[in-house]
Amino acid sequence: MSEKILDVRNLHTSFRTDAGEVRAVNGVSFNLEEGKSLGIVGESGSGKSVTAYSILQILTGNGRVTGGEILFRGEDILKYTPQQMRQFRGKKCSIIFQDPMTSLNPTFTIGNQLMEAILLHTDRTKKEARDRAEELLTLVGVNEPKRRLKQYPHELSGGMRQRIMIAMALSSEPDILIADEPTTALDVTIQAQILELMQELQKKIGMAIIMVTHDLGVIAEMCDEIIVMYGGRVCERGSADDIFYGPAHEYTKGLLRSIPSVNGQKEKLIPIAGTPINLLNMPKGCAFCSRCDNALKICLEEVPEEELVSPGHYASCWLNVKKRMEGSGEAAS
């Protein structure tokens, strides 16, 4: 069994807004193993990005982690000093964002921004940093690296910029790379290229990846472990096989019905009915309850606990509890 590099326990994050406290993440737990890929799926607003930003402590000013632990190799990074946190960001753990068009500073050259990252975390001279920047651009498949270094972001295409973001994120060979929907803003052919590049680099550098997406296809292709989020909670987590072939939460099942099947068969797609929940006013029971076809009375009343479905596969759904109790009831009678 390989080493846990990141262990998130019962994470809570909320935002202070004029309308009240937005509880974007409510008790998320998962762990990431060295060199492995973890996928976070869930619909828009389910708290995927907020979870990712909480790990790096790059929430906006009104956001705060209000509870839980984030253990990086056993150390709680929530207890880090600002100085230690800066050492963690970019060096131990990097992130690439959804929109490469806006993620680079428009007023500085690619070279300047790339070298800034290199100089921050390694003790290279300016000259060495420039060589390293060139090397990185070559690594991520950017042609004419010398010229690119002198260009400004607006002179490059979206796919190119995302490659540069990846180069920047990998400049100090981090242990963890978080990718927050890295391909959503790109067109399909470029998407495939970027994903391929990430897989290739993972093999080369050996970092662990957290892949945030709402595209189950991407997850299926890239990830070893998956967590499914809904309403700021994890509703199910397990290996890719567990999730795809034995989903144990109604939301996951709905999610799988709502995508074209992975092996390309034509099937009728069934969207999940209803609207996402209001985070300002969280329901008392299961967050998914109002949209669940098989909801029980207790689903309205109480938040389901996370339960083991099979080794390494957990789900939080009352239906599983019911099934288990019925099962044990039958066995007893």
Partner: protein
Amino acid sequence: MARYVCKRVLLAIVTVFIITLITFFTMNAIPGGPFNSEKASSPQVRAALEKRYNLDKPLPEQYILYMGGLFQGDMGISTKTGRDIRQTITESFKVSAKIGGLAALLATIVGVIMGSIAALRRNTVIDRLIVFFSTLSTAVPSFVLATLLLYFFCIRLDWISVWDTENQNIILPVIALALYPTAYITRLTKTSMLDVLNQDYIRTARAKGVARPKVIFKHALRNALIPVITYVGPMLAYILTGSMVVESIFTIGGLGSKFVTGITNRDYPMIMGTTIFLAVLMVTMNLISDIVYKIVDPRITFD
């Protein structure tokens, strides 16, 4: 870049040329002339004077004569004082430019600093104080402020003498001139800074592990200054040419007051001279601010 500058300079020349045309003919269209109010002058004297200043010739010819002189650097002499216009303008511009330049510098530095502080300390007491101050200062007209300053510092406190020909104190006029642009730049910087701090690239910089001061001074400030630069150019031109009101309250012989007295005296060469000078200054400042804008923001392309 060079092509763009050439194009802009040409355009500027055309603009100034059109301004001379408009000024010349409207100035002459206004009732009254340079020698109308001269009570004692006899018709003969007046005719002689008008001949001396070419005022007896048809207007188009007068205009051509004036422009001919202008191309040789001759702006004529004042119909009121008989002094050389170019020299008068140069001298009074020195006074205006000193006060105006200081005021512009003060406004930009203080405005950017206060605006940034307000943005970074949003919703704190400091932010509220800065907002209060800047709202107040944009609401107070400069002549009221100038009068108040004069009243308190010169008359009430007697720190500065009201009028001193030898060693004129420039602090009060500089403050009076700077207050409005300071407040404006403060607000502009704050809005723009708040906007920039929410941009994705700031998040990227933080995620890289860049320390907060560097995030602000390197990544945010440069972008936040872009709208400020577009304001500072024209503001500089406006302020350098001197505010007529402030100059007359503090009895400063600057360009602004020369312009005003030129108009009341129907001092044609003086009106033409100051207008052309102001136009050239304005056009140049705009050009400079556009070029600086391009240097700061590489996305701006020249075409």
